[in-house]
């Protein structure tokens, strides 16, 4: 019975858990325990799903027993299961880490609200990855976004409020653009179900209505995923949100939006959009600017959280490059980087959370001497940084390897050169932080600080360990990504 309901449990349980926490467990510890248990449950559920679909099977679930084109269908294929595992895995680890960090950063009487919002976000993100209905996807998009705005606004500084407001305005515009796109598709096909759309779209793919729909969908989702020129909400939102929120969002929210883009291009239109509209060239051009310009901007940041936020925009560029190459290797690289970037940014932001926990600041200059004072935290930061740069034996290397392989496959040498160049920029911005932390003494008279608590170190090192483990043993990640890419390319 449980197994038949697997595709919905990981969405429903957090959704029910959120109001439960609000009503019954308002103590910080109680709310945290509830969120922790639910997060680990969703991880178990999603791993079970991944096992089921890894054979190439597609699991379909009809909500309320209404048959597919009329009712809402949940549809889990390899790619969906892969994204669900990323989201729930990061959720489970950050919740393990969250208790002390949240107590230090969010006023005590609002902590239960934070966990409620976290559960809603989790439910929304997992829902986006699971649903097979385009309008249902919009609803989940807004569930996750609205609760995300609240989580961002819980940051300690007052600038968190304006960051949340600007995110809300742009996020709502993005979601509304998406709805317009869905509406235009509905107008031409009379269906919202993805599997149904796949069959009906080819007939009308050349009409102006569908071209407009593609444009609206691309811009709308682009706003959500932090596509280069419309990423402006992202740096402030990441900088001023509480540490745990930043780690969770950076590792999941943008990844899920990238997933939606892949879904639209490769599942709904079966790659046909690339023939009717030059979306691949546009994405490629924007991403190239993103990986160079945003990495360069990151070099000049004094706030390390903001530095990593700009680096995130650049890293999203890598994913989009992979997607816009429209080859199996390219798509593999893009999908692979979804997972790998979640691991490295998760680890880095959790490390910054530990730093903030001890010194109440994440400015580069305040981090002087931390290499000695907080050896485990900074070692995690360095490992995450190496992974971000793409040093062998880390996941970052695997992603870049496949990305460069894909660009060489197309014989686009300059593209490979730009990717390598932007990695060099990553060396510079990571080095700035590492240099201050290891080669400068703590200012005289500064309070002596100790290592972050074990309850925060362990989850952080789990992610760091994953960075190294999946950098060496690539069978699982590359295998899954390649299978998903092959499936999407229809091969």
């Amino acid at each position: 019975m449980i197994s038949a309901n697997l595709p919905i449990l990981h969405v429903i349980i957090p959704l029910i858990g959120a109001p439960l926490g609000l009503l019954f467990s308002r103590s910080p510890t109680g709310a945290w325990l509830l969120a922790l248990i639910i997060s680990w449950f969703t991880l178990a559920d999603s791993l079970a799903l991944l096992l089921i679909v890894s054979g190439g099977e597609v699991v379909s679930y009809e909500i309320g027993d209404w048959a597919a084109p009329w009712g809402i269908e949940y549809r889990v294929d390899m790619l969906a299961a892969y994204v669900i595992v990323i989201v729930s895995g990061i959720g489970a680890v950050t919740m393990l880490y969250a208790r002390q960090s949240v107590e230090a950063e969010i006023p005590r009487d609002r902590i239960y609200l934070f966990y409620t919002m976290y559960l809603l976000t989790l439910s929304g993100l997992l829902g986006i990855a699971t649903t097979g209905d385009t309008f249902n996807l919009f609803v989940f998009l807004e569930i996750s976004s609205l609760s995300t705005y609240v989580m961002v606004s819980l940051g300690a500084e007052r600038r968190a409020l304006t960051a949340a407001f600007r995110y809300l305005v742009l996020g709502t515009l993005g979601a509304t653009f998406y709805v317009i796109g869905v509406g235009l598709m509905y107008q031409m096909t009379g269906t919202l179900n993805m599997a149904d759309l796949v069959n009906r779209l080819p007939e009308v793919a050349e009409t102006r209505t569908i071209l407009a729909a593609v444009a609206f969908l691309t811009v709308g989702i682009g706003l959500k995923l932090g596509l280069f020129p419309v990423h402006v909400w992202l740096p402030n939102a990441y900088t001023y949100a509480p540490s745990v929120v930043t780690a969770f969002l950076a590792a999941t929210a943008t990844k899920v939006a990238v997933y939606v883009l892949v879904r639209i291009y490769y599942t709904l239109f079966k790659g046909g959009v690339f023939e009717t509209l030059p979306v691949d060239e546009i994405l490629l051009a924007l991403s190239l600017v993103a990986i160079v310009a945003m990495s360069a901007v990151a070099i000049f940041q004094t706030n390390v959280k903001r530095l990593l936020a700009y680096s995130s925009v650049a890293q999203i560029g890598y994913m989009l490059i992979g997607i816009s190459l429209v080859t199996i290797t390219g798509l593999t690289a893009g999908i692979l980087h979804l997972f790998n970037h979640a691991l490295m940014k998760g680890a880095l932001f959790l490390a910054l959370g530990c730093v903030f926990f001890r010194i109440r600041s994440v400015n580069v200059d305040d981090m002087a001497g931390l290499g000695k004072a907080m050896p485990w935290t900074m070692a995690a930061f360095v490992t995450g940084g190496l992974s971000l740069i793409g040093i062998p034996l880390t996941v970052g290397f695997v992603s870049k390897w496949y990305l460069i392989l894909a660009s060489l496959e197309k014989e686009w040498w300059p593209l490979a050169a730009v990717i390598l160049f932007s990695s060099l920029l990553a060396v510079i911005y990571m080095w700035r932080v590492i240099e201050v932390a290891y080669f400068r003494e703590r200012p005289a008279g500064a309070a002596t600080i100790g290592e972050a608590p074990l309850a925060m170190l362990v989850p952080m090192w789990v992610l760091v360990g994953a960075n190294v483990y999946f950098g060496i043993d690539t069978d699982l990640t590359v295998g899954t990504a390649r299978a998903a890419a092959t499936f999407l390319m229809g091969g």
Binding site: L168, T172, L173, T176, G183
Partner: protein, 123 residues
């Protein structure tokens, strides 16, 4: 004439959508931004409702003597979208209240000034 009268609803949609979008971009006052955002969303609601219309069809309520109905599905979708819109507006306004408490103003350009040039520029 056909394109003006026949597509009247869609023209309204475009006008509303662009007006709302323009307000969001051009206005510095946060309340006005929320107003623009609402207009923008309402334009989409009108768009969905317009396309659900079937020539000669009545409201989709089963009753004797009627066989042709408008498509009810977009109506239902827009009910959901309205709920989302209300939630967005509520959250946006709540944030504006908090911003007013913290910054003493809800003009985005002045807040940006305060953020960039330190705290003391605006008392």
């Amino acid at each position: 004439m056909e394109t003006v009268i026949g597509l009247f609803n869609y023209w309204i949609v475009i006008v509303l959508m662009m007006a709302g979008f323009y307000i969001v971009i051009a206005q510095e006052n946060m309340i006005k931004k929320m107003v623009g955002l609402s207009i923008f969303q309402v334009a989409v609601f009108v768009f969905y409702i317009s396309m659900s219309n079937v020539f000669g069809g009545t409201a989709p309520i089963a009753a004797e003597g009627f066989t042709l109905y408008s498509n009810p599905l977009p109506h239902v979708l827009i009910l959901t979208a309205i709920v989302v819109g209300v939630a967005t507006t509520a959250l946006g306004l709540a944030l504006i209240v908090r911003i007013k408490e913290e910054f003493g103003t809800i003009e985005d350009d002045r807040i940006r000034d305060m953020e960039e040039h330190g705290e003391e520029s605006e008392a």
